[in-house]
């Protein structure tokens, strides 16, 4: 056969390429829970608003970016499939109801705001609002449960999995509050600040409880890693970012608060990556090097995919640049 694109067939471009890919998959996961996380948060906090103008403002913050943010889930899933197909198939097959419940929650979250704008009718809009709020709450809960089951090799209805789900809900609420506060008028921002502060404290408490349970029961054999140097650093940084965010929020420095709030889900993904490496599927003990695809396939997706990933990051810079600054109350619709 021809040597296409002069790619090595028998060996990886660099020996550590499988580990690089593990990092890339975890990066996509982090992008997803950071970016779609604040979308979920907006959806949850939306339930606390009665005033139509405030609701419109929140939808205007959500509208231009959520769909692009959600694509990071697809990027995460397909990169996992491309590099570690056995993990992809096992993870989803073993968590059937949670995984499909999650995609249905995403469906309700996505269509709610889109349909709401199409028809001026109070009852219709109430239905759409419920779809938006319920989807935005259930999606991070179920995704967190899925991640918890994965990392801690625990059933869905177990303390580690459920606490991970609740943690993801809380951290999403925090970033959502910070995002809305950074983009809106003082009255709404003040309420967001109060809710965000409560959320941060709840999240930090949740992390402490979760990790105590994990260490206590040695769930998925992760106790040692949690108590290792990097584990303690990540937890410490989370506390610093959380409490620092609270201080910034209370001083009404919302943009700075947003920056430190977004660090929380990023650190949570870092913790997931730390706990999964190198045993990428704890339930079967499959490691990164067991599960990775053959050199040619991985080399190809690296050469074709990584440059595009950089381009995608530029798209996001452009998108958030266009829609930077405060909301001008333009609503959701086109």
């Amino acid at each position: 056969m021809i040597e296409p694109l002069v790619l090595p067939v028998e060996r990886y471009l660099v020996p550590s390429l499988p580990d690089v890919w593990f990092g890339a998959v975890m990066f996509a996961l982090a992008m997803y829970i950071v970016l779609d996380g604040f979308d979920f948060g907006i959806g949850m906090l939306y339930a606390t608003r009665e005033d139509e103008a405030e609701r419109e403002t929140m939808l205007a913050a959500f509208g231009p970016v959520w769909d692009a943010n959600e694509v990071w889930l697809v990027a995460f899933g397909t990169m996992l499939l491309a590099a570690f197909p056995d993990v992809y198939s096992r993870l989803l097959a073993d968590n059937y109801l949670i995984a499909l419940g999650f995609v249905l929650a995403l469906l309700f979250r996505g269509v709610g705001p889109e349909l709401r704008e199409q028809h001026e009718d109070e009852r219709w809009q109430r239905v759409c609002d419920r779809s938006f709020v319920a989807g935005s709450t259930l999606a991070p809960l179920l995704f967190g449960v899925l991640a918890g089951s994965w990392v801690f090799d625990a059933p869905a209805l177990s303390a580690p999995a459920l606490l991970t789900g609740i943690g993801l809900v809380a951290v999403s609420a925090v970033t959502g509050a910070a995002f809305v506060a950074a983009k809106t008028a003082p009255s709404l921002a003040g309420d967001m600040r109060d809710l965000g502060v409560l959320g941060t404290l709840a999240y930090l408490l949740g992390v402490v409880v979760l990790l105590s349970v994990v260490v206590w029961t040695d769930a998925g054999g992760t106790a040692e890693t949690v108590l290792s140097g990097p584990g303690i650093v990540i937890v410490g940084l989370s506390v610093v970012a959380g409490l620092g965010g609270v201080v910034l929020a209370l001083r009404d420095r919302y943009r700075a608060w947003l920056a430190s709030a977004l660090a929380l889900p990023a650190l949570l993904s870092a913790l997931v990556a730390l706990l999964l490496y190198p045993t990428i599927y704890p339930a079967t003990g499959l490691t990164v090097s067991d599960a990775v695809v053959s050199p040619l396939a991985l080399n190809l997706t690296t050469v074709l995919g990584f440059p595009v990933l950089l381009l995608v990051l530029w798209y996001f810079k452009f998108l958030y640049g266009v829609f930077s600054g405060p909301i001008e109350g333009e609503g959701y619709g086109a």
């Binding site: 198939s89 499909l100 396939a297």
Partner: protein, 472 residues
């Protein structure tokens, strides 16, 4: 009562669920692909000519595109999830071959579409005309590129190559050996051309139907007369092309997937094949078992051989009796006839419209307007049945001659869980389709209100409009 009565067998429920969810998803995905060139064209004309007809059309169809894109996203994500939840054997065996293209789809196409659609929907006042137009091109390009990578995967499942089977973690899996062969399989260009063209035809019929309805209600709606004409002109090009291309495509299927071809033609015994131009069942059993004996068919003797071989009336066409396990022949046979029949109907509608354009009477013929309104969903019906031929016709294989669908299905899935999610998807997606239809209806009502048509103009379906002749 045993479990059977309450819950479906897990594998059957998985198949039904995948079939149902992909059927709904492909409608929204094709809407994006087919509408993309319209959006680009309307945006271009709006910016270049400052003509408010195009601003109106751009704004209307962009709303349809946005709603369709959201529904395409939320129904698309369950598709890739089901590769793991319901058919983990498929992703484990073929992951190395399909994972790359699916990841490229997300990174190269889906992001492009989603990011620049945000700009297109919310950024009209925030970016320059040039950036705005460029955004429309990128969204359209993203939609077409997305379809390309998805069809790279599907074409590989029809005519797989560029791999060898190896053992990994105790399992027989496909290992990529030749990326160019694996990406550019024999089926790819056939499928891509046929699918993109089908999406454009479907959307052209939808645009024509909506335009016809609005012109019907408001005979001086200038923008919509323009839209009708554009859609009809597009159909004059695309509808005949689809038939010519489809004919050659069928021959390629006979070469590469003889079993599927035999199912399309209801050809059981190996030997010369007749071509059934037209078939209706003469007894009820023909609906489920379409054999020559129980069909009333207008057939051209041996033309099946002639077409399949490209010129030889005596060519031997492999029959279904040669195979141990066959696809559900009736579904494939009737889906194929339904698609082809509709294809010819579209050619007729296109030429009729061409004649009216030539006579300069296009928006005045109430008969034509009625026909186009009635035909507006039919492109999607043809597209769907075409996919049934492709996908059901490949059974029992999920990857032709490599992996059967049964082998790919989850062995750990309980029938309770499978039935539960199937039920949920059926209910939720029916709601989604109804919501999509209501959105279209509300958009049309808003448009009519905007054009000054009051809501209660009564039922005009049975009468001519003032100033509209009824003679064509």
């Amino acid at each position: 009562m045993d479990g059977w009565a309450l819950f479906l067998p897990a594998e059957f429920a998985s198949r039904a669920q995948f079939g149902w969810t992909i059927s709904v998803h492909i409608l929204f995905a094709s809407l994006s692909v087919g509408l993309a060139p319209f959006i680009v064209y309307f945006t271009w004309k709006e910016i270049r000519t400052d003509d408010d007809r195009f601003a109106r059309l751009r704004s209307f169809w962009l709303k349809v595109f946005a709603a369709g894109f959201v529904m395409g996203t939320v129904t698309g994500i369950p598709m890739s999830f089901q590769f793991g939840t319901n058919f983990p054997g498929f992703s484990a065996v073929a992951g190395e071959l399909i994972g790359g293209p699916l990841a490229f789809e997300a990174k190269m196409a889906f992001f492009l579409e989603a990011v620049f659609l945000g700009v297109l929907l919310f950024g009209r006042e925030r970016v320059s005309d040039r950036t705005y137009f460029l955004s429309s091109v990128l969204v359209g390009f993203g939609a077409w590129l997305s379809g390309f990578w998805i069809l790279v995967v599907n074409a590989w499942m029809q005519t797989p190559q560029g791999f060898e089977m190896i053992t990994r973690n105790g399992m027989e899996v496909a290992q990529l050996t030749d990326p160019i062969a694996a990406f550019f399989t024999p089926r790819l260009t056939w499928m891509y051309v046929h699918m993109v063209n089908a999406a454009v035809i479907s959307v052209a019929l939808l645009v024509a139907g909506v335009a016809a309805y609005i012109v019907w209600k408001k005979s001086d709606a200038k923008a919509w007369k323009t839209a009708l004409k554009i859609a009809v002109v597009l159909l004059i090009v695309t509808a005949p092309l689809q038939a010519l291309h489809g004919d050659a495509y069928a021959r390629h299927v006979e070469d590469t997937q003889p079993q599927k071809f035999a199912a399309m033609e209801g050809h059981y015994e190996t030997g010369p094949a007749d071509l059934h131009l037209f078939a209706i069942p003469t007894e009820l059993s023909a609906l489920t078992d379409p054999r020559a004996d129980n069909l009333f068919a207008i057939s051209l003797p041996r033309v099946g051989s002639f077409l399949a071989s490209g010129g030889d009336f005596d060519a031997v066409v492999t029959g279904l009796d040669e195979y141990e396990e066959n696809p559900p022949v009736a579904l494939v046979f009737w889906s194929f006839r339904f698609m082809v029949g509709l294809g010819f109907l579209f050619i007729g509608l296109a030429f009729w419209g061409g004649y009216l354009i030539y006579r300069n009477r296009l928006p005045d013929s109430s008969r034509y307007l009625k026909a186009m309104i009635a035909a507006s969903p039919l492109g999607f019906a043809a597209l769907l049945t075409g996919w049934y031929v492709t996908e059901i016709g490949r059974q029992p294989w999920v990857i032709q001659d490599v992996l059967t669908t049964s082998e790919a299905a989850s062995s750990t899935l309980s029938s309770t869980a499978a039935t539960l999610t199937l039920g949920a998807f059926v209910v939720v997606y029916i709601g989604l389709i109804l919501a999509a239809l209501y959105v279209l209806r509300w958009l049309i009502e808003d448009e009519l209100r905007d054009l000054g048509v009051t809501a209660s103009t009564g039922d005009r379906w049975h009468g001519p409009l003032p100033g509209v002749s009824d003679d064509d």
